[in-house]
């Protein structure tokens, strides 16, 4: 599989114009995504309601190929709903989704072989061994040399010790690694990860984050990440979409957001937005990308 064209590894989210005062520079985000960058995801005017509840409210964003972008927001902010719509598991009430150059709502089977996902809301059959589960998904994704690919993933994610054990017998952390292996079985060009390191101890979580970063750099894959782990987002994401009540209320590179809100960490920015306070121009105002 050849990798899609990649955008620069570090996203120019803030204009590196040293002539401007630092505070002003931080308040003036550069165009995102960078003009001319190939876009792995284009979401336009996405909306989703469940009865009276508005889960996602007319959001638009784009993710350049080869980058990691994070969706951040509190519980019920609309992150999982957004990811489910991007995956084709959930039909939006309105809007368009283009993934890897294809209209996801009309031609999702053209693009599904090129993407994959991991989420705590789904799991693999407990009675099948890890190897059997990965073999099943190797067949479903049309992976050539499934056994060799499983061996590669077992090495990378340290699955070797329990490859032949039933998935149901694994610890939460081991299950998370197996879910990641399943998400990587087809060498996806686009990876959607919902809480990818949930349940992992700090050491394993750090290894997995490192492995995902290497995977992105080496293959040019695009990663869209939903996470509550702010340190993880700061480390992995070049750009952050802050969601609240189904809307994207702010966005930018982690460092730019921290500077714009005058805070020390992304977690403090998150709390400012969640509680509707702070220095951000659009902490509660529904800013649009």
């Amino acid at each position: 599989m050849t990798a899609p064209d990649t955008a620069p590894d570090t996203a120019p989210d803030t204009a590196p114009d040293t002539a401007l005062p630092a505070a002003a520079a931080a308040r003036a985000p550069a165009a995102y995504p960078p003009p001319g960058a190939p876009l792995a995801i284009i979401a336009e005017g996405l909306s989703k309601r469940y009865g009276e509840v508005v889960a996602v409210d007319d959001i638009s964003f784009a993710v350049p190929a080869g980058q990691t972008v994070a969706l951040l927001g509190g519980n019920g902010a609309g992150k999982t709903t957004t990811i489910a719509m991007l995956l084709g598991l959930l039909l939006p009430d309105a809007g368009r989704i283009t993934i890897l150059g294809e209209d996801m709502l009309r031609h999702r089977f053209r693009v599904l072989p090129r993407m994959n996902f991991s989420s705590p809301y789904v799991s693999l059959p407990n009675r099948l061994t890890v190897r059997e589960n990965l073999t099943v998904f190797g067949h479903l994704y049309g992976v050539q040399g499934t056994a060799a690919r499983i061996a590669e993933l077992a090495e990378a994610l340290d699955l070797g010790a329990f490859l032949n054990r039933p998935s149901g017998d694994l610890s939460a952390g081991q299950k998370t690694r197996v879910a990641l292996a399943k998400a990587l079985i087809n060498r996806p060009a686009l990876l959607l990860l919902d809480e990818p390191t949930a349940s992992l101890d700090p050491d394993t979580g750090d290894q997995v984050r490192g492995w995902l970063e290497r995977y992105r750099v080496e293959t040019g894959a695009t990663i869209l990440l939903a996470s509550h782990n702010m340190a993880e987002v700061e480390r992995m994401a070049g750009h952050v979409l802050m969601m609240k009540r189904g809307r994207i209320v702010d966005q930018g590179a982690p460092a730019a957001l921290i500077a714009r809100y005058g805070r020390g960490t992304l977690e403090e920015v998150f709390l400012d937005i969640a509680r509707g306070r702070g220095n951000g121009a659009a902490a509660d105002g529904g800013a649009r990308p």
Partner: protein, 278 residues
């Protein structure tokens, strides 16, 4: 956008419909391979049923002229009924397995098409039914001197017609469970047992009250069991009953497929594929 214009166009993977269906069948084969009680259970109930009705038949042959005319009519009935029952249950349970394990989200973001998913469940239903039926059918020979193969060339037709009816019912059951959640899984058993009295497994359709007979004759299974008795009693294959059963099967399979497609779409609108599970 044409593939030539798409900057993300990549060389094709090695996926195919046959490989994806095999992937799903392999998933269920692994399940049975890892759990011998599941495998034994497949054959256990049909064998027990066959034994009960075999003993009853032996008794009735000595006391009932009707049964004595065609030894084994009750055993034949119970074995063919099990084709319908296992056919329906085999498809439904394969689907429930995915719901119980909260795996639907993984499956439906893969390149597996919904119709390929259904096809894999049909294959599993066939394998489950054969695994249940074959041991019981062979055991009936030494125990009661009944060989199901004596139905001749009509046997594969009866088998196919009953399997098709089972799949049609299962598609509706699966759709309702997808819509209503696993609380509705009892339907898999309840619907099929509700149809048993109307299918005239052990008695002719003429034994039913007159106003119920048209309802019974709207079921493919009733025509199959009437056909089975015609073969056993008169040695003739009633083509009319076979044609009715085939036509009704097509109708019900069509209805089942439409219901499944509509509810699957509704599930995608409601986000049920991600959230549903135990």
């Amino acid at each position: 956008m044409s593939p030539r214009d798409n900057p993300f166009a990549l060389p094709p993977l090695h996926g195919s419909t046959a490989r994806r269906i095999w992937g799903m069948v392999y998933r269920h084969v692994c399940l049975f391979r890892s759990s011998w009680p599941r495998l034994v259970q497949l054959a256990y109930w049909p064998t027990v049923q066959m034994c009960i009705w075999g003993v009853f038949s032996t008794f009735m042959q000595q006391n009932s002229g009707w049964v004595a005319q065609a030894a084994g009519v009750l055993i034949g009935g119970v074995l063919l009924w099990d084709v319908l029952f296992r056919g329906q249950l085999g498809l439904s349970l394969s689907f429930f397995e995915e719901m119980w394990s909260r795996n639907l989200g993984n499956l439906f973001v893969s390149p597996l098409r919904p119709w390929e998913f259904v096809a894999s469940m049909v294959v599993m239903s066939l394998l489950r039914t054969l695994a249940g039926l074959v041991p019981a059918a062979f055991l009936a020979v030494p125990l009661f001197g009944f060989w199901l193969g004596d139905l001749g060339w009509a046997l594969p037709l009866f088998f196919g017609l009953l399997m098709a009816m089972g799949w049609a019912i299962a598609l509706v059951v699966v759709a309702l469970v997808l819509r209503k959640g696993l609380g509705a899984e009892e339907l898999a058993w309840a619907i099929i047992f509700g149809l048993a009295p109307l299918s005239c497994i052990y008695y002719p359709v003429s034994a039913l009250p007159g106003f119920i007979q048209p309802i019974a004759l709207a079921l493919p299974s009733t025509h199959v069991f009437e056909g089975m008795r015609a073969v056993m009693f008169r040695g003739e294959v009633p083509l009319g009953h076979l044609a009715w059963a085939a036509g009704l099967d097509l109708l019900y399979l069509g209805i089942g497929a439409v219901v499944f497609v509509l509810i699957f779409r509704a599930a995608r609108r409601r986000g049920l594929l991600l959230s549903i599970g135990e």
